[in-house]
Symmetry: D2
Subunit: 507 residues, 4 copies
Amino acid sequence: MDEVTGAQLIAEALKSQNVEYMFGIVGVPIIEVAMAAQAAGIKYVGMRNEQAACYAASAIGYLTGRPVIVIGGSSDRNQETTGAFQEFPQVEACRLYSKFSARPSSLEMIPAVVEKAVRSSIYGPLCSADSREITQAVRLLRAAQRPLIIIGKGAAYARAEKEVRELVEVTGIPFLPTPMGKGVLPDDHPNCVAAARSRALLQADVIVLLGARLNWILHFGFPPRFSPHVKIIQVDLCAEELSNNVRAASALLGDIGAVVRQLLETVRSWRFPSDSQWWLTLKEKMTANAQISKSLALRSTLPMNYYTAFHHISELLPKDCIIVSEGANTMDIGRTMLLNYLPRHRLDAGTFGTMGVGPGFAIAAGVLEQTQKSAQRVVCIEGDSAFGFSGMEVETMCRYKLPVIIIVINNNGIYSGVDPKTWKEMEKMGDMTTIAPPVTLLPEARYEQVMSAFGGRGYLVRTVEELRSALQESLNNTQMPSLLNVLIDPASDRKQQEFPWLTRANL
Amino acid sequence: MDEVTGAQLIAEALKSQNVEYMFGIVGVPIIEVAMAAQAAGIKYVGMRNEQAACYAASAIGYLTGRPVIVIGGSSDRNQETTGAFQEFPQVEACRLYSKFSARPSSLEMIPAVVEKAVRSSIYGPLCSADSREITQAVRLLRAAQRPLIIIGKGAAYARAEKEVRELVEVTGIPFLPTPMGKGVLPDDHPNCVAAARSRALLQADVIVLLGARLNWILHFGFPPRFSPHVKIIQVDLCAEELSNNVRAASALLGDIGAVVRQLLETVRSWRFPSDSQWWLTLKEKMTANAQISKSLALRSTLPMNYYTAFHHISELLPKDCIIVSEGANTMDIGRTMLLNYLPRHRLDAGTFGTMGVGPGFAIAAGVLEQTQKSAQRVVCIEGDSAFGFSGMEVETMCRYKLPVIIIVINNNGIYSGVDPKTWKEMEKMGDMTTIAPPVTLLPEARYEQVMSAFGGRGYLVRTVEELRSALQESLNNTQMPSLLNVLIDPASDRKQQEFPWLTRANL
Amino acid sequence: MDEVTGAQLIAEALKSQNVEYMFGIVGVPIIEVAMAAQAAGIKYVGMRNEQAACYAASAIGYLTGRPVIVIGGSSDRNQETTGAFQEFPQVEACRLYSKFSARPSSLEMIPAVVEKAVRSSIYGPLCSADSREITQAVRLLRAAQRPLIIIGKGAAYARAEKEVRELVEVTGIPFLPTPMGKGVLPDDHPNCVAAARSRALLQADVIVLLGARLNWILHFGFPPRFSPHVKIIQVDLCAEELSNNVRAASALLGDIGAVVRQLLETVRSWRFPSDSQWWLTLKEKMTANAQISKSLALRSTLPMNYYTAFHHISELLPKDCIIVSEGANTMDIGRTMLLNYLPRHRLDAGTFGTMGVGPGFAIAAGVLEQTQKSAQRVVCIEGDSAFGFSGMEVETMCRYKLPVIIIVINNNGIYSGVDPKTWKEMEKMGDMTTIAPPVTLLPEARYEQVMSAFGGRGYLVRTVEELRSALQESLNNTQMPSLLNVLIDPASDRKQQEFPWLTRANL
Amino acid sequence: MDEVTGAQLIAEALKSQNVEYMFGIVGVPIIEVAMAAQAAGIKYVGMRNEQAACYAASAIGYLTGRPVIVIGGSSDRNQETTGAFQEFPQVEACRLYSKFSARPSSLEMIPAVVEKAVRSSIYGPLCSADSREITQAVRLLRAAQRPLIIIGKGAAYARAEKEVRELVEVTGIPFLPTPMGKGVLPDDHPNCVAAARSRALLQADVIVLLGARLNWILHFGFPPRFSPHVKIIQVDLCAEELSNNVRAASALLGDIGAVVRQLLETVRSWRFPSDSQWWLTLKEKMTANAQISKSLALRSTLPMNYYTAFHHISELLPKDCIIVSEGANTMDIGRTMLLNYLPRHRLDAGTFGTMGVGPGFAIAAGVLEQTQKSAQRVVCIEGDSAFGFSGMEVETMCRYKLPVIIIVINNNGIYSGVDPKTWKEMEKMGDMTTIAPPVTLLPEARYEQVMSAFGGRGYLVRTVEELRSALQESLNNTQMPSLLNVLIDPASDRKQQEFPWLTRANL
């Protein structure tokens, strides 16, 4: 009668590890654990698909500095090999995807296993770099002709914004954020050279890499995107990441905040001159690029293009909103057109490029805002194809009345869709499985009705005026989510790039 | 200029292995392969989520007797360990989930690897059982007091319906289908004792198991659901499956059609008497159970209960429709209330109990019907929670104008939801993440509008009349999919079961 | 007090699955299980290294038609993740190497898990091929101009020697054994064309493949070792193996004995003519090859070469001895020079080419002979490098007084060693880790003293006379093992081959 | 003609990563790599079994501060799935056993993959602990009543002996080494309380854990072996190891030398009093334990017991010799009876308890000594069962003339053997596989002849005089290895322990 169940033990163990949020599905095998979690004071969000629940959990982890713990059902251990319900070697299957994977051998072991899962996933104690390495790094930095600081997701995760800002402002060095590093310093900071990204990467002779990996997003640090002679000063908490792909001229192992503070103590009052050739060349490129974007943004033909839509969205968004984004062109163009002003206020598909993450990320951010009773809004900007992966989660947003605004940038497909008239003609030609281009979706699909089906506000948007009005109205309404279905030109494209995004050739 | 691309090689290799259907997403990395597939004459269905695409592929495999081949993207091999886009040991990660997992080492190897993937997944050549084993099996069968034939998915997959029908009708033995074995023989066949399932399993002294596993769906063959003295005559193509959990009194390895034919040749004119005590006890139980179902089905109070809804659906469905089903109560009750008359005309969540399979299964069946220009309809009966997992696929159905009717049996949650009024009161109490029961969804969610958002027909259904009218209208309209959102009593439940579905205690 | 221990449960479960032999080490964690096994009537052989114990177990499995079951120790389940003694995910680690891998969840589950392990590893019930496929196969065979039968290990494992002999003798077709298929029919059978192996493989137009895989040992069935137009009639118990690498013109799934009987019933009295061009060309090649071997064998210079040594060994070996062999040249040359006359009387490194298997295999065969009190001897012919891997197992042979004769063909290294004088000179040149060729071992190492250290008989052999005398003496002494250390010319080599053994080029 | 082979690329890549030693077998597929390695200036040691080669490589890694890199053969990539020679998913199979596992995709990728393998396995840059944590740790230490320092293998690996000695001598705290931590400070250091190990662990109230894991060797840090109230100050380079099993009161992440220096800077001149109750209780226990060992060691009955043998060996061994040890009682008793005076001069079976490591470890140490032309000797003390696992490696020792002395402590089995007379009687009773206890080996096996077979010196030792004379003679002969086969009482046992070694009960 007084017996503690496994579900209760799990809930208590999670709570005692300071777990505050749990995301699951509205489905059979997790009901007991979900109820026990609520009883233990953990907030439970029931979602429509395990995928989206995992995305939400990973976003909460990033926003609150915690790891993701996945709890899965399983058949009883003594049913192994019998063909039991949900029989599978789950621990083994998770090995490649996790830092720690275990199954408690008994009820008694649940607390210890949960503790190990949490502890194995967070680098607990802080550590600092070796002081001789710091001296060497500062020597390199002072000798630089074209220095650059790259601010990565690791700096955001380490909550090192204060130290990083001081480093940038004391040294006067230009900086670039990675997509998830945007906002550690504001995108409109005078030292931000994002608008000259390619040139900055290519010509820098010394790069301070703060919690950013030299992976595909940074073109591996390889030519032709980087100078073959670039010297990297790499700061990272993860020893395995140091010198990966490019041998670091200086490898600083430690907490990013602590190491940047060590750098500041050593660099003292040295300052890179603002009238240097390096600053001149960067500023020239930034001005030119801004010009191109502006002319695209101000076009008034209908349907709108990407740049026009983003320009007006950008003008209306409050500086403290959390921006979530995914899609192909939608995410890429949004990265440059939508500015971030605060750390950890941007969530996008990131390193893995997984599509479908948007609604789950937005739900996590929305629940967090709701909990903290802050007035911040969550704006989730989705390509129309991307929205399809987890679109049903709008029901979840409506159920919990989350302060989320979804903006679907709808071009009837991916890269380029087809207009309704052409579509109708294709339909007459026969079997669409053999005719419809694999990039196309149903033209002018009414995604806003998916939102209104569950009581949220839906807007169909074709003009700049409709866009501004619908967005303003949505920002004013904090009680329910809304969805803007922004129909743009199916043939709208990204402006010409100097390099393809994925540098494949030079490995 | 004349160079063959990898995408073309893959498409040609698949085509030469007689692959006719490909399911993917409308997303970046698969566009080239999809276009090459269309060029090679393979039908391509672009879906909204990889999950649903996989479900569709597995259903096409079952319906056409083919394996599922999953083709995944990957970073270039020479980028391994660099942090490349989509870098992951995919082959290794698939090992636990597949019969064969490989990556072609070069373009030249693509055809051989595709050939091996197909061949490893299909038992090609037929084989028959040893003749001494056949004799022994028939001896057992003739000595049975309470014989039973269980028809499993394996019999459907082997297309052995002709042989199985002959075995049942020549011997006069009662039979039970497994959920996916339903329809190999019609559910209204006089020898079908599904309405006395528990009694038949428990009291049978000799069971002929035709392509069915003694797994959780058959309670492992263990007491208290089976007699401890039951003798199993097991027919299976898979040697590892023979004698699993219960040692077969006779283990017959081979193609089910071929082995049943061997049995028929040996059993000759022997017939189990229709006036036996065994038939009497089964018929008595069947009558009693039918009575209970009928009284539930004929209740006229509103909102409807499950049995009423299923009763009227069942009356209208054409005998040759393909029934897809998932959900908790929805699937369980539907298994008994919705009859199947033809083999391979039922697709449900099956052994794995995976939720979200419905729309993908329905799309596969719909594409197949469309290709074959048969007049058969696909009816997809979904719990409301189940529908959420892949609900966005209604856009896919609309895009390809598939002859699919979705019926959402909507009780505002799983097992039991909450009515709108109670929900509003809960909302006033505070944070719904701590208050809303994990089993509840938004009350009276308007799922039919998710269909109408993409041009399909949506129906909100509250009464028997609305149900019959909407279903009839949907059956008449073969040009577009429709969705019936059937609001039933949130407190409606399944009738009392003698045993819980998952027999856990007696292992 | 009356409690049954886990060790006893394991022993009883194995015994009830008819396990008769257990091989382990003389080491701590397995003592309890070993003692329980002995108490249950299982023979226990304590060896010197787990490697050799596994080799022995696999040989017993092959000789008695049983699978290998590996039982491993582990830390307690509730110590997982604590850094416990022998903590490791053993089940997971074995997945890639085994058909079945499991850990009983409790003492109660031990019998079921052992039963599943045994059952999953043996194809129990027999099955036969489809009769239409048989007809097609016989049609192909009758139309052949240059037919060939290849007898593989599968035919030996299936104990199909009676049926295979009948097929060969009724049809008059030439046959080739694979290394482990030697002895299913005697190597001196008039239809055996092993001495014209390359020509037979290359020119055959129809090949009946009986339980042999078209893997590297058969050059994958590819040109230039096979005709590109060869038609394969493949008989195998394993569906996945059929058509691997080369699409079978006829794929016959089933037990080899049963399928060969089906073939015999259909082929009836048809006979391939013994005066055909095919037989003439094969016989001509066999005569030529025999001539070359003979001239090498009869050389009288000292030190001996491989062929001389094998020639004299071959003359003295009784026909019913079990031949074990490993090494590079030693095994390759021995395959042609040492004849087998009985099925399952040859054990060599086989498909995997693992070195070190010899002593373990010999111990298994020796224990079996000892148990059966047959008068058969085990002769283990080892290269000197190969002997080093498990040479300490001579103590095991002495401890159990096994009737094993080890013949080390000692050329001071692998492929070619160095003579003692040259060695001494190299030693003077400095650090041997930088000077000694990686192919060399200590010249004239006295391996026979490793045997005499444990009470067995050791012989140092330099001449033909010493070889014949030592071998005869060893054959006469059935009470203790002996070892002949046969010093041959370090520069002795294999005769010229038409093709390198591993055909790499043409894939 | 000028083409670089894969073997050369591997050798160059290893050399450029400062790899100096390679261990392999004398076997076919590695000859090319071995020769290329020698050509590149890497020392190559050809061994008799891959197992022993791996043990040797791991020992070299420990002795020189390098990781182990395993290079394995494989079939060509384009032969995957064809049944090629040595076809296996090696990368996947190694995942569970390694920090990094990869296969170069082409010759060009070899250097990068080798670089990543080396870098992933070594924590390169140093890091220090957070200064606030240091303050907290020192506060705990100063408040201790019964402090203890445990010196683990990590301290030896980090080469922190100078800092650790200063910490011990400045603070005056008693210390305990783990088995592999022995010698970081000399075992005869006045602060070493190894002779009161159990009492020290049980009663300590604050423990400074320097690079030691709380795993089974330290009884997990759990009661009843530790106080439930003990406070742990844990210093480790590996974040995942901190707080494992017992939550550290102070967790100091960083290089052990750097962190101990941080501690020293903070602890200043504080000193734990040498006249404390804690020192008194430890010294009293040490005196009592020494008494018991001494009385066992001085027994003069024959055959000798373990303690007598170790006592005399200990007296003769030079202080700078490297001690290698394995076996059950042999290793356990040797840990207390054989003192270490220098860091990294002891190699034993360690955490994994793998038997068979001795000869490989000794070869590694011997090759290192030979390279460094130091006069240090390697003494390898083996149980007789342990020696059997890799005993053939004495040929390797002789081939390279390594300065290794093997002492086999021979009790005719494991734990307790059987004397020759009893053995003869057992033999008469019948089949030894059913009679011989699984713990027994051949009585009085002449292991010394295995050494003399290859030109080394072998000694059969029964008395103290023979032992001392043979050991002295071996120490004097630096040109060849020798083996002392020390026959001790088969019934000799370990002295009574307060706790069983593996504390199982209290988890």
